[in-house]
Symmetry: D2
Amino acid sequence: MEQAVTDFVKEISPRLQHWRRDLHKFAESGWLEFRTATLVAEELHHLGWSLQLGKEVIKAEARMGVPAAEVLAQQEQRALAQGALPQWLPHFSGGFCGIVATLATGRPGPVMAFRVDMDALDVVEMQAQAHRPFAEGFASCNEGMMHACGHDGHTAIGLGVAQVLKQFSSRLCGTVKLIFQPAEEGTRGAKSMVEAGVLDDVDFFTAIHIGTGVPAGELVCGSDTFLATTKMDIAFRGVASHAGARPEEGKNALLAAAQATLALHNLPQHSGGSSRINVGVLQAGTGRNVVADRALLKVETRGATNDINDFIYQQALRVVAGAAAMYDVQHEVKLMGAARSCQPTRPWVNYIRQQAARIPELTSLVDSRGQPAGSEDATYMMERVKARGGQASYIIFGTQLSAGHHNEKFDFDEAVMATAVKTLAALAFHIDSFTNE
Amino acid sequence: MEQAVTDFVKEISPRLQHWRRDLHKFAESGWLEFRTATLVAEELHHLGWSLQLGKEVIKAEARMGVPAAEVLAQQEQRALAQGALPQWLPHFSGGFCGIVATLATGRPGPVMAFRVDMDALDVVEMQAQAHRPFAEGFASCNEGMMHACGHDGHTAIGLGVAQVLKQFSSRLCGTVKLIFQPAEEGTRGAKSMVEAGVLDDVDFFTAIHIGTGVPAGELVCGSDTFLATTKMDIAFRGVASHAGARPEEGKNALLAAAQATLALHNLPQHSGGSSRINVGVLQAGTGRNVVADRALLKVETRGATNDINDFIYQQALRVVAGAAAMYDVQHEVKLMGAARSCQPTRPWVNYIRQQAARIPELTSLVDSRGQPAGSEDATYMMERVKARGGQASYIIFGTQLSAGHHNEKFDFDEAVMATAVKTLAALAFHIDSFTNE
Amino acid sequence: MEQAVTDFVKEISPRLQHWRRDLHKFAESGWLEFRTATLVAEELHHLGWSLQLGKEVIKAEARMGVPAAEVLAQQEQRALAQGALPQWLPHFSGGFCGIVATLATGRPGPVMAFRVDMDALDVVEMQAQAHRPFAEGFASCNEGMMHACGHDGHTAIGLGVAQVLKQFSSRLCGTVKLIFQPAEEGTRGAKSMVEAGVLDDVDFFTAIHIGTGVPAGELVCGSDTFLATTKMDIAFRGVASHAGARPEEGKNALLAAAQATLALHNLPQHSGGSSRINVGVLQAGTGRNVVADRALLKVETRGATNDINDFIYQQALRVVAGAAAMYDVQHEVKLMGAARSCQPTRPWVNYIRQQAARIPELTSLVDSRGQPAGSEDATYMMERVKARGGQASYIIFGTQLSAGHHNEKFDFDEAVMATAVKTLAALAFHIDSFTNE
Amino acid sequence: MEQAVTDFVKEISPRLQHWRRDLHKFAESGWLEFRTATLVAEELHHLGWSLQLGKEVIKAEARMGVPAAEVLAQQEQRALAQGALPQWLPHFSGGFCGIVATLATGRPGPVMAFRVDMDALDVVEMQAQAHRPFAEGFASCNEGMMHACGHDGHTAIGLGVAQVLKQFSSRLCGTVKLIFQPAEEGTRGAKSMVEAGVLDDVDFFTAIHIGTGVPAGELVCGSDTFLATTKMDIAFRGVASHAGARPEEGKNALLAAAQATLALHNLPQHSGGSSRINVGVLQAGTGRNVVADRALLKVETRGATNDINDFIYQQALRVVAGAAAMYDVQHEVKLMGAARSCQPTRPWVNYIRQQAARIPELTSLVDSRGQPAGSEDATYMMERVKARGGQASYIIFGTQLSAGHHNEKFDFDEAVMATAVKTLAALAFHIDSFTNE
């Protein structure tokens, strides 16, 4: 890495920390990143990147798991009260908190894209001195929302990359796109950006994550074990009746849900690889002496491949329809999230490994950790890029964690942000050396 | 009771016993009463009753729970080898072992009908000295079939009534019909006789039973607690696959059956009165390591009223269709038997009580025992007669039993047969005294 | 009825209405009748009745379904803010809102007791002009609590009786006890008063209800179809784990609950009479992708007799223990309510009918309505009185309702209160005429 | 391969075919290999191998899935009638049809063992001209038993090896053991031989199979994908009662079995690798109108590792105990078979590959086919040898099949037998060249 870049990143490191901590304090969960998005837009605009915002980069119908309208409205008001910038807010209103920033060099060359995500989790952050964000005053002030997965860091990294690339834009060729995605948690947001066409001109795509158990100093250059997944809410609607006096007049949604649950958990045996199903939540009924007329299941399927996940998912749809028929109740399945399995492309992984070798902080470079991971909707973006013949990978920057992801004590070593900025910058600066062998 | 009739019945009592023991020895279960029916037909023909046989009195499509064709054929051959009369057998061939004998007096008067049933049960009779049929040499020689419900006695009573009424036919008016029904066990046969029109001219109908816990000397003149019932076989057909190597290729009929079973047993809560369901038999699968492609459920529903039973039955159909849909398997529901709840008509019960008072052996006359009983398909006949404005009842002659009905040690005090013959004769002889108050 | 009593009741009728409407407005649900109880105590004390309060008449350990301590404390504060009398409140603090008022005449005679209940329901009252309590300004101001079962009227009747009996106390002999019970809804309170010994000296016991579908002008003198019941909350506690990454580390409380639910609904087939079970509420799990570690079932059993209910209940305990064992989760069963089946004593029903004949507003007197009813925990009191050889009944005063019980639009014709006061007074005034034939 | 050996094997090839076809015709399934074992013993004895027989090599208590005593007795009689040799039969009587033949050279050297299995399957062989065994007159004459997995060939190979090694015994050193195992199907027999100590002196162990989809000419030198498995029969015993009249008196084994089935199929989600469960057979109940008092489940678990299988198995035991408790029925779990996952030892696989290179018929040598396979109880033997520090592998000789294993049309190209004999002989003859690198 050239010294100038290294020096510049060092110089902006305090701002990376500042951004991260500000975002951490005003944590906003999926589709509600109103304040976050306005600040990001302002910063990028200030730096001179071209912006596409809101519905330009998010297809409304392809969004999944969007909160109810009243929640969106409330949270937008809260965001305003917490410093969201009114000049940008209208773009994101209604749950369209996505941004694509573009830097077209005018010089011939490919289109390269980086994806970072911006959403927090529905977790109550620990309020205790032992937890650094609390001790240092940047714990979440939004109860029930917490950056417990590091996306605050991802957003800061994205802003850092925007600064560095702008600063050294003369070294770039082609076009660079920075994608700031909402609602990655629950794998709800990426598909809507893909369907808005955001990836349709991208030749080289890289999504990033920090942590996930990777040791500090290590870079996973081509994480390849994400499970395909589908998330769904299943509602059963029957007819209530007095359970003692008129049991035969009820249509029992609770029993339909119980029966469906057992059958759903019967599904996942597949010779093609790992498959999963989970009914994580079952809520049914209103009173002890009433035949329950409503039930809700929160379900997810997963599979080592898209085919396996689709198989389990299709079976699940059949199971719930059958269970509803058994008890003569209505049912509705609402898609709440989805992600794909997706293999990084080999040449791009090789290129990433080569460029990462330039970064002294990265002392270990591996292609994959091999272990089954969770799910990631950046896979939708990877799939689209690959479908067009492009190169794609998903990379993970190791860092010391104070607790596991999604835990109320989650925190990370902020030094990883500078490392990530430098690595992504290196990918951009040397793209002319990429060879597809 | 006039002395002449009493004396005559006393005279034929040994023949009642002879018939009963012969039928007991060559027990034939439902739809397989080939030998029985030929002997009954011969006797009635010899006495001079007009006969309608086989398909004349049994509507083929309305039969339920008929054994497979090869079983019918085998048992017909066995009947021949055991003394079935070849001149009558063709009428009954294929499972049409019903007889209606008619005595038209030519004198004005109503049509009166008595029903007796002829079938044995699928029970292995006890072979031990303590069991009188064995000790006295008339235990069933047909392994797995036994007259453990007294229908051998019923048939003998029917033949006794035929003799007495013929002997004293000058005292009769109108028309008398004797209905010898097959396949009462499992409530499979009566409906087919009703649909053949056998009851369509009947003004006064009486079905009989002996035993059932009623003490010797007592007559129940209007048993009114039969439960409506539906019997069905439910077959699920899926797709087999190797459970270890290709679990996802199977469509699991066993799981569909298990799920249906639990849901069926969830059904019977009804504010209208007693309701029941039972999955009595579940047979599924062929090998431990094979996803089961076949399952069979033997199910019955019951209800204190026809409406309750129909409600449970309709729900059961829905449940099995839903369970099949859940596991993507085929299913077929086969009706195997059915009976109705039915109240005797009050004036007829009163008349029976009055006539029974003439029989000195009947020392206790009650209308009903009040306790929930099983099911009886003579209720179909009662319902048809009542629908036409006729009178109907179901009467039970108490007698000492050696063991409960359907038990391998079942036997009864044969003296009840003469009592029953006299009582039914009295109903016929005094019909001109009936008043519908 | 003597004119003097009639006139007096007419005179106090406005106060009956006033009390009822005040209680209606400040509705308090079971174990939370803090304001209600202080007002009742003050009134009775003012009239000169001897009082036993709180723990004197309620055995702490025998209470069922008591709200959590923080709810009790909050509601007690709210009651104070809404006019609960501080001088009486300490007696009822902590959920002991029961009162027994005694009038010992000093003259020889039996002990007679009347029971009224004071609790509201957890129902949100309709706020609309079409609903009289709203139109006339006495709809509940406590959201989520509503007198939708008429206990406000019962309490007012109790106070009216207290006035009349005091006014004409010279006509009484023996002792009269007025029992003001908390937490009848959910059948949670009566048992604790029985176990405190409140009924141990009672010779004649009468519990009352208004409405329940009985037409205006009719008195049911001996309601005899209450079902025995047991209410329970069943909690399963397992171990959470990530459903995708570590499914085998979880112990699934949701599956245990689903399995238990199906098995519980398999229970109720009983030849002895009606039996019921209902899992009315199932709440399980915290997140879609987490193996659920907690589940809660709200269950009730019912039976036409105590034996049937006990049988179903015992089986239910076995089922939930087995289901917990299947999934290796902990479980806890918490008794939340219970009531008995109980037959009124015949002589007392006769006496009530005779006395009611004196009340011109009562134009129809029946012993029973015959139809299956819900459950009532006054049956515990009846059972105790009968066990000591006393007489007991449960009577229902018909009245015009605006909507069924437990409905958000429930209201009743307040004229029924004066009728009830006069009827109960008549029972007390003429007890010397009671004969146990 | 030296010409002398090649020539000798060619010379005995007709006898290999003769043996195989004789065994095929008189197929005997697991633990019933009475005739087979006497013929093998006679042949080995004649050749001069030292024999250990029956209980010397089979530990009675460690046998699994042994047929009922009356079946053993019947089949032993049938074997006699079909030519079993009376002088050897007593050793095997009662289901102890195992043989270990030993050739101790007296020269220093290791102990080497080969395992072949002798049992047929419970399959009805196709009787049609298109099926060579039928066309050429050696189809099974024992209806319902068929060598549909090639163990007839394995036994013939074992006898061929016995001949060759004896013929050229001067080239051997150390000791050679030939293990003829009963009841490999259902993985029932190997453990009993291991526990009898048969493997306790073995340094080099090789089990063989033919076919399994491996193409003709290929040798799999170290098959490594066998799943660990446990087979069990689970019997529930409740109490029967009349489902209509006395439902509450029954203890329902059928419902317990249905509930257990659903819960068992809920088990297999494991992050460690493939896991399986299958309830392949469910048989419950005796009559439609009877609360079922008996139920039987035939179940198997599988796992990619012993740990996974053990985990699923232990959970399954818990599930069935819980289900029995739910319905208050007794239950019994009977172990019917078991096998282990087991990796071949690398040096031994290398040695096998080297030696196989000498055999011109083997044109393709691979270590593993990689695909998930079924289960094999030779893994118990491998595990024991490895536990003592020995070398072990499982090898598969490809051959052309007429239909898949366990199919009624199964047949194989008998030329594979000579190839196998030569390969095993080569392993024995060159053991001094083995090096553990």
